[in-house]
Amino acid sequence: MKDIANYALQVMKKAGADKAACTAGQGRKDEFNVEANNFTLLRTNFSDSLHLKVLVDGKKGTTTINKLDKDSIDKAVEECVALAKQGTPDEAEDIAPLATNKDFDQKIGGFDAAKLFSRSQEFLTQVKDEMPKIMIEGMTAEFNSGCTTYANSNGVCFTNESESYNAGSSFNAVEGDKTSSFNYYYSALANLNTPFIDLGMTRTLFEESVRSLTPRGFDGKHVGKIIVTPAAADMLWHTIFGCFLDDFSMIQGTSRWKDALNTKVTDSKLTLRTSPLHPLIVGGERVTGDGFESVNQDYIKEGVLTSFDLSLYAANKTGKPRAGNNAWSLEVLPGDMPYADMLKGVDRGILINRFSGAQPGPSGDVSGVAKNSFLIENGTVTDALVETMVSFNLVDVLQNIVGISREVNADGYGVLPWICLDGVTISGA
């Protein structure tokens, strides 16, 4: 890949690029598919990718193709330079400066096709035998391998060779004419040592889907506590990034935290970071999209906003520091409250495993349906719920976090605890 990336850089410079960057990659995916509890397909995909960025007189053009032959690269460069020349100059556009170049090795010993198939088969058998009401609506079990090189005209060159397994399913429970809400759980894996049914929250979520075959509505309207499980990560954590930390909200100036760097923005129990180098993250990114070596990054440390999630461009645009990674590997530090104690502290509230909600606007108002969720009464999880809506303002509820669990769930993509929030409006249909 280095040779291809360097060739593309040479051609871009020759074509008139003042600055140029290139990401070249090649990979292979092998994947077993299951639908409705039955194997349906075995896939083998051979992939190539080439992403080019040029700056001409401060004007940017980007081109993406999936061919790596010389003619295709030459044509893509020509088109990319032409794009840039038609663009608008922007002083914030740049490429990463020269740092220590590295080669990263994230290989895990190659593909064991027989083992992946047997683990998948074992999973289906165990589900059928142990939880016959569970319907695996769709399952993928895959092995991905690839090599990617990022290089730019400042002399930066990073190469990453990676391998990983990914396995998981979307599922529901079915009994006669009754169907539960669907749910899903996926894991990234460095080996196949663990039966898939024992990965992370898989078994718990299956059991809860079966219990959800006979749900009830939430009575009336109540302002109180919710416990958000790691399976509902997007309800809180991704929303924080989208509303308050990312390029879009900061460049637009709509982030409510835009002037809050190094000030307290949440309860001091919260430390939120993205950690691609965490030992429980599988195949974490090693190079950012704009050509920096990835490092772990704190965003909120003990309640204090320590960084935004800004690319090089957005950092230059806003005058704020660039983030240390692409913000894909979420980590929330565990708290000091055992999950059992967290439950005991809820008189009337709900446990949320999945959230079907609107994309919150800049205000941070979150509203949607609590899916695969359960009533908590007097410290005990009781009935499964249906048609139950929750709404709250994210900034407000994060001011007063009731507790963060000591336990965490690591699925290879993130490391997240359970969190209890107060002041949430819960209403039945």
């Binding site: 995909n45 198939f117 637009q252 709509t254 709404s391």
Partner: protein, 460 residues
């Protein structure tokens, strides 16, 4: 344009086989408050083969498209099919043969769209917004086109050469409320066709910008919805989303087999008698649909799929295998998004059919309720339970439109909510802006008339 390197390989097909070459091309320009944050184009394509043997498929794809790569993916897919057949041992017979004539290429561009067109249009629209719309805290303008070209050769059914262009422009406006919150509205323009067929003169869209701004200023002064079950008029734009998300997905046969609520409800009353719903293939109401599909990626010539007729659930959407399972004829719903994707059961142009009421009369008939106009996103469940965000809505008080509503959500169970529909308007709109997500993204269109029904509204 894709060269045909596939037909010559047909002689090598042993089992049921699909061989598909495909290129997806995109161009995009994004102006974020006037800053050009994207000036991009991409072209990704390659060749894929899928082989059916004994009840399972083998699939393979490669980015390279030449004689060798075509042979290689055909062999790899065949090897994968043999592996699956020998290990899974379903022992099913070959898929039933589908007949169909060759479908030739339509609507291919004479020359590529120059990026300058996208840039000039985005800049023109952005300048218009700056000039016309005061008090905005931010604005975003996007020019975008996605063109999909597919060349398909199948062991039975219709070989085809298919090209589907979509050109869109997106506008997002944000304004600050008196209490310091930000409110936002979004508008999608465009549809099927090339960029220059939709977007040459930004001033042609001046009224759309005016209307969006007017709604945003009303929303800026808006109130929060009163939570609970309310009598609502659902605007045609939102009815289309309801048709797609809340009903459409539950009647995709793969999800029916996975346990969706539609399974036990076939030929039963699932909606008011005023509700009929069809997934159109390529032509509806005498006109070409926003995203016409003439033949699907299994080579099945596309026909309309009638889903609900006068409130009765009449059928599902199928691929060849699910059609065999249910003993019906496939109607061309198997579609793949990228060259490296296998065909899945997907919607095409899914519509609740218009009725006989007038929208004005429907609004006038509501004493205390809401007029729900625009949704930002929506999700639905295998149970039929759905949730949509509502970005734009108004109170209805005494039969008249009242104050605008801030962000809210609506939710319900589709087959229950549809039974409360008691008025259906005689007009409809199409929406072709988004992507449907189901393992792969996919372009789909949806549409419908205005509906009067009972709906659960979320408050603050």
């Amino acid at each position: 344009m894709l060269q045909d390197l596939l037909t010559a390989k047909k002689a090598d097909f042993k089992d049921y086989t699909e061989l598909r070459a495909q290129v997806n091309s995109t161009q995009q320009v994004t102006l974020l408050s006037g800053n050009m944050t994207a000036n991009a184009q991409s072209a990704t394509g390659g060749v894929a083969a899928r082989v059916y043997k004994g009840g399972t498929f083998g699939f393979a794809s490669a980015a390279a498209y030449n004689h060798d790569s075509v042979s290689n993916v055909l062999k790899a897919a065949t090897d994968n099919a043999i592996f699956m057949d020998s290990h899974v041992k379903k022992g099913k017979p070959p898929l039933p043969v589908v007949t169909g004539a060759k479908m030739d290429l339509r609507k291919f561009p004479s020359e590529p769209i120059n990026q300058k067109l996208l840039i000039d249009f985005a800049k023109g629209l952005d300048e218009m917004i700056v000039k016309k719309c005061k008090n905005l805290s931010s604005r975003t303008v996007v020019s975008n086109c996605l063109n999909m070209e597919k060349l398909l050769v199948v062991s039975d059914g219709a070989d085809s050469h298919f090209y589907q262009p979509r050109a869109m422009a997106y506008v997002i406006m944000t304004a600050e409320t008196k209490d310091g919150d930000q409110v936002e509205l979004f508008k999608a323009l465009g549809g099927f066709g090339h960029f220059d067929e939709h977007f040459t003169d930004p001033s042609a869209y001046a009224w759309e910008i005016d209307e969006l701004y007017e709604h945003l200023m009303a929303k800026r002064e808006g109130v929060f919805a009163d939570a609970g079950m309310k009598k609502c008029i659902i605007h045609p734009d939102l009815a289309g989303m309801l048709a797609h998300e809340a009903v459409g997905h539950t009647v995709e046969a793969d999800l029916v087999l996975g346990g969706s609520v539609a399974g036990p409800n076939l030929n039963k009353q699932v909606a008011s008698e005023l509700v009929s719903m069809t997934d159109f293939a390529h032509t509806a109401f005498g006109k070409t649909c926003p995203l016409p599909v003439y033949v699907d990626d299994e080579g099945t010539p596309a026909e309309d799929a009638i889903l609900i007729d006068k409130g009765i659930l009449k059928g599902y959407m199928h691929n060849k295998e699910s059609a065999r399972h249910f003993g019906v004829t496939p109607q061309g719903n198997a579609r793949a998004f990228a060259f490296s994707d296998e065909p899945l059961i997907r919607m095409r142009n899914t519509v609740i059919l218009p009725g006989q009421s007038k929208l004005d009369d429907m609004i006038a008939s509501v004493e205390d309720g809401y007029y729900l106009i625009k949704t930002g996103n929506g999700q639905a469940d295998s149970t039929g339970e759905f949730m949509f965000s509502v970005d734009l809505s108004y109170e209805i008080k005494g039969g008249k439109i009242g104050k605008a509503i801030r962000e809210t959500t609506i939710s319900g169970v589709a087959f229950e909510m549809l039974k409360t529909v008691d008025m259906v308007s005689d007009d409809m709109t199409w929406d072709v802006a988004g992507f449907c997500g189901k393992k792969q993204p996919m372009t789909c269109s949806m549409g419908g008339p205005a509906l009067r029904c009972d709906m659960n509204i979320g408050g603050r």
